[in-house]
Symmetry: C2
Subunit: 146 residues, 2 copies
DNA sequence: TATTGTTATACTCTATAACTATA
DNA sequence: TATAGTTATAGAGTATAACAATA
């Protein structure tokens, strides 16, 4: 076995690099944590969302969402109100400031994604899409069964 | 922009899952850290290696290699000796115990990799290989230029 | 009694830089 | 003076579980 050819290792190394590409934007230029960035991106459609939705859509834990959203509320990026239908939970959406921040960030991170994808031709992009989906599904299955 | 379609996010989520597949083996069953696992795998060819080689081949920092190798030496997995040609540095290789541990782990982690790859056909595997290489190169370039 | 989200705590990782020994 | 590797330390991130409010 050669570590350099081992798929989980290669994916981990690529993820480290490509995550850092994006972290240079949200963290270094805009002072967000990764979790805050994921919440921001998930709320960008302007709707009210519950914590549970942000968990799922951002691949985060409830504690991470709790802390990220509290900090974002303090920083004026989101507003929160109790869910009238279930007062244990919260509904959250971006403030105008949050929307403004998002709009500043999006073109930059999309340009970075585009730069990565420029290396690939049409076929490769399509295949990559399928492959990521399939691998993720299998990996999830493997983790579950232990 | 939809986060769920955003390439760096998708790679990060996949990496989390697929790394956990392997961590369940090296960490939960064999009590190694990720760094120790990478060092073990890199020394598996039986040769003496310097710290600098382990850095490169394992995508680690010198501090991480320093700590991992110290702990592995205490645990009897590797032996270290000063490099006669440059006594600032060390040469390291697996002990018979280290080799034995590696041999127990390899079939298990390779079976897990194989399970992931079963989801892909020949074409997809070949494309994935190229795509990972290209994306990593681009991501590295992007990180460097900031 | 179970669920949603919060808080507390301990633990691991990471990043930075100071340090030593050799070169 | 520069380099290889070590140590120290502080900060960030992670995991676990206990907890309050509500269902």
């Amino acid at each position: 076995m050669r570590l350099a050819d081992f798929l989980p290792y290669r994916i981990a190394v690529l993820a480290e690099q490509s995550s850092q590409c994006i972290a240079q934007v949200y963290a270094e230029r805009f002072g967000l944590t990764r979790d805050e960035w994921r919440v921001l991106a998930n709320l960008a459609d302007g709707t009210w969302k519950r914590t549970a939705q942000l968990l799922e859509e951002g691949a985060l834990e409830k504690m991470q969402v709790s802390r990220a959203t509290q900090r974002m509320e303090r920083n004026g990026l989101i507003e929160r109100k109790h869910d009238a239908e279930d007062r244990r939970g919260w509904l959250m959406r971006l403030t105008p400031e949050g929307v403004g921040l998002y709009r500043k960030m999006v073109p930059i991170v999309l340009a970075r994604e585009a730069f990565l994808l420029e290396a690939l031709d049409e076929d490769e992009r399509r295949t990559l899409d399928d492959v990521l989906r399939k691998l993720e599904q299998r990996a999830r299955q493997l983790v579950r069964q232990g």
